[in-house]
């Protein structure tokens, strides 16, 4: 029998969070690192999301975490030596009712107090920014000029290549079937092929984080939801900014190829978790996007797809060590915000794992917060239903 492989750190999940973490750990020279994914890298929500990026949220906790991320996005292509097509086109949260507008104003005040350069727009300014928008669908909004979009697949490949160059080993199509624990301590994992020894396992398994945690005997408070998106044939430029609409629970942008890409959540999220599309969802999206952009009613739908996400009770990610199981860390439960949060998620989790100290921006997202009554109140995230990035 050959001796089992040994790694200092094993990351479960080759999505944008797991790969960002692997890269950031390797930068800190933390020894041998392996990333395992049950499918191709970026096969989950990392390659299925809306590609939108902002830090303009409503709570101090979310603003601090996602603004750390936004700063990293600005130089990410240069840092990783790979064009991730980050475009600082601006991000508008649209208000369609007086209540929406009041919420935007409260959030904008908090954002400005924390140093974000966001500003309120009135209906006329929104019309000037997006002339194709239905004037009846808007009363204003809050605009973050520094927000934008990036190409999701490119971000996955960029982190993977940069991590490999630093010696990280990445194993696609290598599902983890067991997490080995001995007296409250991680000892290794078993893949579909072999046993692997390690003292540290990071659960970055996205929608499957709950299942991975169960392998280690840990129960996570995560609900899994499916979301659907559509993309149209390429169109002439008509939408220059990333746009989300809390009123329609919708988010959208126009890609560099000219396609309109967007998603919307129905009022009641579907319990069905397969990746097949539903007619109900495409009709809901067609109606909402047609209301926001009357010109889109004639645009041709090219493709529709689905992705699944795991959401925590307060809809914020679970980031940190698991109490009572030495060597087990979580980077999970991003609930649709993991793409925009990936530069910060990987950077801060690498700091936590190597230094043993919890970075300030990460502390509020510690996985124990529900047991200690410290759940985060993020006003732009209402229940399961809000705009996604």
């Amino acid at each position: 029998m050959p001796r089992p492989k040994h790694y200092d750190i094993v990351i479960i999940g080759g999505g944008v969070q797991g790969l960002s973490l692997a890269y950031n750990l390797a930068l800190r020279e933390t020894g041998k690192i392996a990333v395992f994914d049950k499918s191709y890298i970026g096969s989950g929500a990392s390659g299925r999301n809306g590609e939108m990026i902002r830090s303009a949220f409503g709570s101090e906790e979310w603003i601090r975490l996602f603004d750390t991320s936004l700063r990293l996005w600005e130089t990410l292509s240069a840092e990783l030596d790979f064009n991730v097509m980050f475009t600082r086109c601006g991000y508008l949260v649209l208000a369609s009712t007086p209540e929406d507008l009041a919420a935007c104003r409260t959030n904008c005040k908090r954002q400005n107090a924390m140093g974000l350069k966001t500003r309120m727009l009135n209906a006329g300014e929104v019309a000037e920014l997006i002339p194709s928008l239905n004037p009846q669908a808007t009363v204003g909004g809050v605009f973050q000029k520094e927000g934008g979009v990036a190409r999701h697949d490119a971000v996955v490949w960029a982190y993977a290549r940069a991590a490999r160059r630093l010696g990280v080993e990445i194993f696609p199509y290598t599902e983890i079937v067991a997490v080995n624990v001995d007296t409250a301590k991680i000892t290794g994992v078993r893949t579909i092929r072999e046993n692997v020894l390690t003292g540290i396992v990071v659960n970055a398994a996205g929608a499957f984080a709950g299942q991975v945690a169960e392998m280690a005997g840990v129960k996570l408070l995560l609900d899994v939801y499916r979301l659907e998106m559509i993309v149209t044939e390429p169109l002439k430029p008509f939408l220059q900014v990333a746009l989300s609409s809390p009123h329609f629970l919708a988010y959208m942008h126009q890609t560099a190829r000219g396609e309109f890409a967007g998603g919307a959540e129905p009022q009641n999220l579907s319990p069905y978790l397969g990746l097949k599309n539903t007619r109900h969802a495409v009709q809901d999206m067609a109606r909402k996007f047609g209301s926001l952009f009357p010109g889109l009613r004639g645009a041709k739908l090219m493709r529709q797809w689905a992705g699944i996400v795991a959401k925590s009770p307060d809809r914020g990610p679970l980031l940190g060590a698991v109490d009572g199981l030495e060597g087990f860390f979580l980077n999970a439960g991003w609930g649709g915000y993991g793409f925009m949060g990936s530069p910060a998620g990987g950077r801060l989790m690498a700091e936590l794992i190597t230094d043993g100290q919890v970075p300030d921006a990460l502390y509020p997202f510690n996985p124990d917060r529900f047991a200690t009554g410290q759940a985060i109140v993020e006003p732009t995230i209402i229940g399961a239903a809000e705009d996604k990035g």
Binding site: S43, E233, Q283, G298, K300, L301
Partner: protein, 93 residues
């Protein structure tokens, strides 16, 4: 390599596909996302046979072992307006 078009939506030649495979996009799912093949208005209906054959020849994987990327709806591009009639929608389908 001669210049042969393999994907008419994204103007991909055989050389584009082979270069992408050599750069490490060596699985059909990553090749699709890197080159844009299967992702244009034809959604793979014109390019799939070309791309899969070329992929099999370049990588040595037998064609019959390959899983072609999921064909997503709709079969042909259709207008958003036809999916969301302004009156009397068809919600309960």
């Amino acid at each position: 390599m001669s210049k042969k078009m393999v994907c008419f939506c994204q103007d991909l030649t055989d050389a584009d596909i082979v270069r992408a495979i050599k750069e490490g996009y060596d699985h059909l799912e990553t090749l699709k996302r890197f080159t844009g093949a299967f992702m244009g208005p034809c959604q793979g209906k014109m390019c799939a046979a070309n791309v899969v054959k070329l992929y099999a020849e370049t990588t040595g994987h037998p064609v019959e072992d390959l899983r072609i990327p999921t064909m997503r709806p709709p079969v042909e591009p259709i207008s958003l307006g036809s999916l969301a009639p302004e009156k009397g929608g068809d919600d309960d389908a």
